[in-house]
Every structure is written in C-alpha cells, then in structure tokens.
C-alpha cells in the first residue's frame, strides 16, 4: 500500500475554510441526491424544519441547509460521498445537548442527525461489552443493563437525552468519572466513515490492538475527523453498595478545602460534587431536593464499592467534613433519598433557567488544590462585570462549571459574559489547568485554546485533521483558533 498523496499543509493561523453558503440551485441538486438515497421523508430542507437544528445548548447558532436522518452505516457513507462530491460540509449531531457548539453547522451544509440510529446492537455480559449505535440515549444503555446487574459508567448530567455518539464526539464526563474515568476510558472500538466515504473499523472488542490507538484519538475529536457510526463500549458490574452524603458548609472555602483534604488523604470517592448558594436556591425553588437554602455551599459525595470499603470511606469522609467545619453531614437513608439528592444536582442547569432568562456555562479544570483560590477569582471577575454567577461542578476532578446569568435583551451583556468567561478560563490556565474538562472546545473556546497550547502544540494537532479531513468536510471551523467569528449570538 502506498502513502496517500496529501495536499500541502495549511499555513499557520489561517484555518478558516473556504466554504460558502449553498446556492438554492446547488442545494436543490444535493437534496435530490440525498432524497434518492434516504427517501424524501428523511431529508429536511425547508426553513421551518431546519430551525430545530440551528442550535445546541450553547449560546451560538447557525442554520444548516439540509438535515438528514440516516438509518444505517451504509446510508451515512452514502451521505458523506454526496457531500464530498458537492463540497458541502457535514456536521454530525446527537441530541443537541452539547455546551460548546459542537453540533452547530457554522457554514451551513448537511447535519446528520442520528435519531434513527439508536439501537443497542449487542450486549455480551460475560465479556463485558456492548455495541451500540451513535444515536442511543446514554441512560437507555444503563437502563437496559441494570436488570442483569451491569451499567455503562459515564453519566453526563444530560444523560436522559444526550446520545452515546455525542458523548464519544465530546469525550463526555459526568459526576461519576472521578473514580472510573470519562468516555474515552470506556470506549474500545468504533466504526467510522472517513472523509472519502469509506467505512473503517478502529479498535475493537479486545484491548491493545496493534497500531496507533485511533479509538483514543477519535474520542473527543468533536466530529472534526470522521463520522462515528458504531461504538463498542466496556460495561461494568454495579457496585455492591452506594452511600451518598450531603455535607453542608457555611463557607465556600471550607467546602473546597474538604475536597482537597479528601483527595490528599489518599481516597478517591465515586463522586464529589459542589453546589453554591445560588444553585441551591434555584434547585429548591424548582424541585425540593432537600438542600439547605442558607448554606454557602454543599458537597454531594458518594462512596461505592464493597460494603466494607464503603463503610470505611464514609466514616473517613464524614470526619474530614467535620474537620473542615461542616454544619451537618446527611447520609441518604435509602435509594429514594439518594435519587432525590442526585436529581437536584442533575437538574441544576435546568433549575437555573427559572431564575434567569439565559446563562452561560464554563468548563475550566484546575488542580484540585487550587479550588479555593480559583473560586474566589471567579467571584471577583463576575462581580467586576456586574454579573451573577452560580457554581455547580465536579469538585473532585477540579472541573468547574460557573454558570453566569445574563439577559441578552440588555445591551452589551452578552459581550460582558463572554469577556468574563474568557477571564475565568485565563485563571484556570494560569494555575496549570485546562479550558475544558468535558464540554469540548467547539466554537465557544477556540480562542482560548491559545491560553494552554503553544503555536507548535496547535500545529501538531492540526496535522491530524490535515491527514484525515484535509478539506475540512467534517465540522469545519471548529476547535482551533480562527481569525473571526461567524455564528450569530443566540437572540431570544
């Protein structure tokens, strides 16, 4: 086999692709071809149908020209071939719950929605593997496995609606990734469609495949390298026992010091989540999870494993909370109480929607020992811009989620929010952290990539895209810093 001939490397800095919006005429001919492949029903192209697909859960939006709903890998490959021939960009989309604009078609073109490719293809309990289609809703996999005592670990807060394909695209995390790792630690193999429409298998059912770890490279590549059409995941046995604790604090510092002390003591609980006062009030107003309204912060902690270990860990965690002046530590007495505590946390973003017309979520990561300092800086920054901020985040991983409240009707507020967000990420970078822990770069944090990566680092990454997606057919204009922004800011 010979090495494929490749076009010359794009010059540094100029990464904006030369896509132009489709003319009506070209669009009509692409629609014709796609309809012949999929059937007219599964090719959406009038503005009314497309509106739903112009945004995700971030604050950017851009309308696709065409949305397709394939039902098989072969159809996806056919779509990619048509798109490549017409030079129309392709953006894969799961449930549109992404928080960084990963599914926004910046240059229009074709959005592949995976709603019809949502099946569990195979489950092998003895070998602890499941094979699923990308459109499968995350929680549906665990629901299917639970009766046999198994589950799929990564559990993003949006797991009731987000898809496993989207999770692979973003390398999604969730509260329980502290002990067990994020999506990439649970995906073993993929079936993909390349930019020339070929179907290729990477990785597989068994570990340590000879060759480069392409599964690891593709996971988290935000749809910019290929389109994923099948996923082989690890599944694991449910733990024997789970104990969920709610520790209440009168200061943010005490809560963050507790987190640092737990990790430093050599314990890795299954989850450590933090919520501050604003979030607690929003959640209580929304659903009565039983959170205290007057606390400065609470920690939601979970120990799981064998009952001996859980007992031991629970005792040590309670002692550390008390040592850090916890006002109280409540242990969920049963599964109902436990579910209620978690429901509050998982619905926190939605609850904030009740107290503010809009909010902007950041996703910085910092070394866990830097939490108290960084949280203070976040408050200072938001105060300086006159913005309200709430914090609900994966404290055990050092993965912050400041929610900045705003109203885009107020002139200039959106820009102030973006500025504050940028400053927060600059603080994360300054203490040795990252600009995104689980939401992805997308359109939202392209400029911020330069806060943590040098021009050389970025050039090396771009080599991968140039190798596999040289024309930027897949999800163009994302991930890397670019000269100007194209998407309009969401107007409500």
């Amino acid at each position: 086999m010979s090495i494929t001939e490749l076009p010359a490397t794009t010059a540094r800095g100029s990464v904006a692709p030369p896509f132009e919006r489709l003319s009506e005429e070209r669009k009509a001919s692409v629609v014709r071809e796609l309809s012949a492949l999929l059937g007219e029903r599964y090719v959406l192209h009038d503005p009314y149908d497309l509106m739903l697909y112009e945004y995700d859960a971030s604050i950017d939006r851009s309308r696709p020209d065409i949305v397709v709903l394939p039902s098989s890998t072969e159809e996806v490959a056919g779509i990619v071939k048509i798109a490549a021939r017409h030079r129309v960009p392709v953006v894969p989309r799961g449930a549109g719950t992404g928080l960084s604009g990963g599914a926004i078609p910046l240059y229009g073109g074709i959005v592949i929605a995976f709603a019809r490719m949502n099946r569990i293809l195979e489950v092998d309990y003895e070998n602890m593997r499941a094979v699923v289609q990308p459109g499968l809703v995350n929680l549906h996999l665990s629901n299917a496995l639970n009766p046999r005592g198994f589950y799929y670990v990564p559990d993003p807060s949006s797991q009731r609606s987000c898809t496993i394909g989207g999770n692979v695209g973003e390398n999604a995390g969730g509260p329980h990734t502290l002990l067990y790792g994020v999506t990439t630690n649970h995906v073993l193999g993929l079936e993909i469609v390349t930019s020339n429409g070929e179907v290729v298998e990477v990785g597989g059912w068994t570990p340590d495949r000879p060759g480069y770890d392409l599964t690891g490279l593709i996971t988290g590549s935000e749809g910019t390298l290929c389109v994923v059409t099948k996923i082989v995941t690890r599944i694991v046995h449910l733990p024997e026992e789970v104990k969920t604790m709610l520790a209440v604090f009168n200061s943010m510092d005490d809560a963050s010091n507790t987190v640092s002390e737990i990790i430093a003591s050599g314990m890795i609980p299954a989850a450590i989540e933090m919520m501050d006062q604003m979030i607690l009030q929003a959640v209580e107003a929304d659903m009565h999870a039983g959170y205290p309204l007057d606390a400065a912060a609470v920690l939601l902690l979970e120990a799981e494993g064998l009952r001996e270990e859980v007992k031991d860990q629970t005792e040590r965690i309670v002692a550390i909370c008390q040592h850090n002046h916890a006002r109280s530590v409540r242990i969920a007495a049963n599964e109902t109480e436990r579910q209620l505590l978690w429901a509050g946390r998982k619905n926190a973003f939605g609850a904030v929607g009740r107290i503010s017309p809009e909010f902007y979520v950041q996703d910085g990561v910092v070394p866990r020992t830097k939490l108290p300092y960084v949280l203070r800086r976040v408050s200072e920054i938001c105060a300086r811009y006159g913005l309200r901020v709430g914090n609900v985040f994966h404290a055990g991983d050092g993965n912050l989620h400041p929610l900045i409240l705003f109203d885009s009707q107020v002139p200039g507020e959106v820009e102030r929010v973006r500025q504050a967000g940028h400053e927060i990420l600059a603080v994360c970078a300054e203490v040795g952290g990252s600009i995104t822990g689980e939401h992805g770069v997308g359109v939202e944090k392209q400029e911020e990539m330069a806060l943590i990566f040098s021009p050389v680092d970025l050039r090396v990454m771009q080599q991968v895209r140039e190798a596999w997606n040289p024309e930027q057919l897949f999800n163009p204009g994302k991930l890397f810093p670019r000269p100007g922004r194209c998407a309009e800011v969401k107007q409500l």
Binding site: M1, T4, L6, E126, N127, M128, G173, G181, V182, T184, N185, T194, E201, V202, W205, T206, P207, D208, R209, P210, G211, Y212, D213, L214, G216, L217, T219, G220, H237, L238, S260, I263, A264, I268, G305, L306, E308, D312, V365, P367, R368, H394, G398, N399, G432, S434, G437, E438, H439, V441, I452, S454, D457, V460, M461, Q463, V464, A467, W468, L479
Partner: protein, 444 residues
C-alpha cells in the same frame, strides 16, 4: 539516507556537552535486531534532545529512541538505523503534587526509581510492566507496556494526562496537560502511547496517581482443568468482587515461577492467582467469597501470599512475559480456555514446548514457545495461534523473537482497514522518515 558524517560533526560542534558514543563495543551493545547503529547519542536535557532531533532532521539521519532497552525486542527489523538516542539521563521526577494525586516526570526515569519517590508520599503510578528497575517511563509509554494490575487500574492510556514530545523537526510540543480531566483539542497522548517512537520522542509525562493500598494479599488456587479455572474467572468478574489482578498460569509457567522464587507451586494443572488490595476487612471478605466460588468450580486450595513472598511472586509473573520467543495474544475472556487447549494440542503435535501466563480478566495470553529457532513447525504454530486469536476477536503480536524469525513472519500480523489512516498520520508527523522505519505495524 542522509549525511551522517556531517550530522556527527555538527552535533559535536553545536552540542559539545551531549555524549556521542562511536566505539565499536558500545555500538555492538546497542544493536537492534542484529543491526548496529552508527552512533549512540545520550542527551542530558529536553532542549538537547530537541536539538539532536533538529540536526537529524537537517541532515536526514534516522533515529531510534531508547530507554532502558527492556522492550527493544518489540517490533519488526528496522529498515535502517543511523543513531540510537538514549534518554536515560533525563531521569528526574520534576513535580509530585501529592495533594492533587498527579506527577510530572522525565521520560528517562526508571519505573522503580519513580515508584520509590512517589512512595515517600504514600502514592504510586498504577502501572506494573516487567523489569521496573531498568524500564523507563518513556519506553513503557512508547511500547504501551502493562502488567497484571491493568485489570483494576487500566493501562497507560488511562493514567497519562499529559506528554511533552520532540517532533520530527525538533520542535517541542505538549499534549494534554496537568489536570486529571481535559478535553481541549485532540487527545494526542493516545496517539503517542504505543506508537513505538514512530511519531515523536516522548521526553516528559504527567500522570494521574493512586494512593498506595492499605494492604494486599494474593490467593492461589489450582485447577486440573483450564475450563474450570476460566469459569471461576467469569464468575468473579460477574460478581461484586473487585480483584486487582487475576492471573492464570499453566504448569510450565508455574514451574518456571517456582524455580525463580522458591515458592511451591503445583507443576500440574492450572494456577489462578487473585490479587486483592484495600482494607484488610474487605480483602478477607473477598478472599473468603472467592474461595467459596472456587470450591464450586473444582479448585484445590493453594496458599495465600503476602509481604516479600507476594512481591517475589508477582515480580516473577511479570518477568514470565519476556522470554526468548514471547507472543501476546488478545481475545475475548470467554475464548481463553479454548485457546489454551488449542495451543497445547498444537504444540504437542509440532513438538514445541510452551509456557502460558494470562491476564485472565483482561483477555490477554502470553505464550512462550521453545525452541525459538526458525523452523517450519514454529512458523506453522505461530500462524495457527494468530488465526485462533483473531477468531476470538483479538490479535497476536510476537513481542520477542530472534531476528531470523522476524524476517520470516510479520510480528504484528496483518494490517486492518484502518491502516491507511495510520499511514496518513505517520506521513504528516514524520514526512522525512527521521524516526526509524520498519519496526511498527505495516512497516511504519
């Protein structure tokens, strides 16, 4: 190839502090698959390493990065080899942020030296490949080496959070970072791990660490039939028990380990070793429940190991994966028993000796075959063993073999449909072929 003499002259002039070894005894010692390098270069810092690579790039000289040399047998015969660049002088632990459970180390530090320093703060890197005293971090990552504990802690891909690499043009690049959760940009760490130095030279690594366990115990069980042993493995994996490692040894491997350690292990049948870590109360309960399950599966009880004996046992188990001719076969866990039966019959028929050690909970079987000299029987055996592994959805890589054998059979096996994607990456990262070719999958 390039202008080797000018390369050496430039190196000596521009980097006088860098060791450049040219004597024949050294070159002989650094031969890879009987191919001697023309120079051995030992830089003492990251910047020096980068400058060496930049010069190699300029003069089109091919480089083979090397750590402690414990896993240098992995890979095909190199196409050509100008210089070996050895990283053992980059041997510092740069930072150990104990309260964050992370560390940053230079690539040339040995695993044992790293573990000793981390242990002073009660932590460790949860990787346990063989030969920890010689194997360096860089070599372990480049070869994706692992050990029995991977069942619980995963492999390098699960523990590396950042890397610093020298690219083929001599530029220094970072991937990942210092925090345990990070999705900014492509995860190039995954690409470098296991890439056998074909894309870049790893000079620094950041790791996620684990606390040292409060206690550790090993339970040994013996089974007349491999099928019963593997049924127990499945029963334990399908339960709430959380062993750190489950290792399966055949009679020959058990004999070899017994000889090496002085432990008494059964020479007939199969031995299963369960490693448990954590609090003593949890360990004892897990051992009791495993024994109970074991009785139902026809096991004979062996002894429990702890302390120095336990350490010696696991050390010997790891070393058992590095014989003169060692194959690593991956497969479904449920295929292991049949695979071992197949291998035994095959070896009997072809007059070969075999010793097997399996990471039974991970679906990985290491087979040592004798005699290792090229013969039609051996080639036939390797072909059939590979085919059988592929039928179990896996693969077979010949990790160690005499050079003559490597010339007869592809140590990696056939390439898959994803190979053109790998080629394109290699082409982009190392268009000039600075990093030695011929050793990795498909000749990359």
């Amino acid at each position: 190839m390039g202008d080797f003499a000018s390369f050496i002259a430039a190196l000596q002039e521009q980097l006088p502090q860098t060791a450049v070894l040219l004597d024949s005894a050294t070159l002989q010692r650094y031969a890879v698959d009987e191919m001697q390098p023309r120079a051995v270069i030992v830089p003492s810092s990251t910047d020096e390493t980068a400058q060496v690579v930049a010069l190699a790039h300029q003069y089109q000289v091919s480089l083979l990065p090397r750590g402690g040399g414990t896993h240098l047998g992995l890979g095909g015969v190199p196409k050509s080899l100008d210089a070996v660049i050895e990283l053992t002088r980059l041997s510092r632990l740069l930072e150990h942020e104990a309260a964050d459970l992370t560390c940053q180390a230079e690539a040339g530090i040995t695993l044992a030296a790293l573990q000793r320093q981390l242990a002073t703060r009660g932590q460790r890197l949860a990787l346990d490949p063989p030969h920890a005293e010689q194997a360096t971090i860089g070599g372990i990552l480049a070869t994706n080496a692992s050990g029995p504990r991977r069942l619980r802690y995963g492999t390098a891909r699960d523990l590396v959070i950042g890397l610093r690499t020298i690219q083929a043009d001599g530029e220094i690049a970072r991937s990942g970072g210092r925090v345990v959760k990070n999705v900014a940009g492509y995860d190039l760490n995954k690409l470098y791990i296991g890439s056998l130095g074909t894309l870049a030279i790893i000079v620094e690594a950041n790791f996620k660490l684990h606390p040292l366990p409060a206690a550790e115990r090993t339970l040994l069980l013996t089974f007349p039939a491999v099928t019963d042993a593997m049924r127990l493995v499945s029963a334990v994996l399908g339960s709430v028990l959380t062993p750190t490692a489950i290792e399966l040894l055949d009679g020959s491997a058990a004999r070899a380990i017994a000889t090496r350690t002085g432990l008494s292990l059964p020479a007939n049948g199969y031995t299963l070793a369960f490693d448990f870590e954590g609090s003593l109360s949890a360990i004892h309960r897990q051992m009791d429940e495993t024994r109970l399950l074991a009785r139902q599966h026809g096991a004979l009880m062996g002894e429990d190991l702890q302390g120095a004996e336990q350490e010696a046992f696991w050390e010997a188990v790891r070393a058992q994966t590095s014989g003169e001719l060692t194959c690593k076969a991956t497969m479904l866990i449920t295929s292991i028993a049949a695979y071992l039966q197949f291998a035994e019959q095959l070896c009997r028929r072809l007059n070969l000796e075999m010793a097997a050690v399996a990471h039974a909970g991970s679906g990985i079987v290491y087979l040592e075959l004798h005699p290792a000299e090229v013969s039609s029987e051996l080639l036939e055996a390797l072909r059939l063993l590979r085919q059988q592994a592929q039928e179990g959805k896996g693969s077979l890589v010949i990790e160690r073999a005499p050079t003559a054998l490597k010339r007869q059979i592809d140590v990696w096996g056939p390439v898959g449909s994803d190979f053109p994607l790998m080629q394109r990456i290699k082409q982009r990262f190392d268009p000039g072929g600075i990093f030695v070719k011929g050793r990795f999958v498909g000749g990359l």
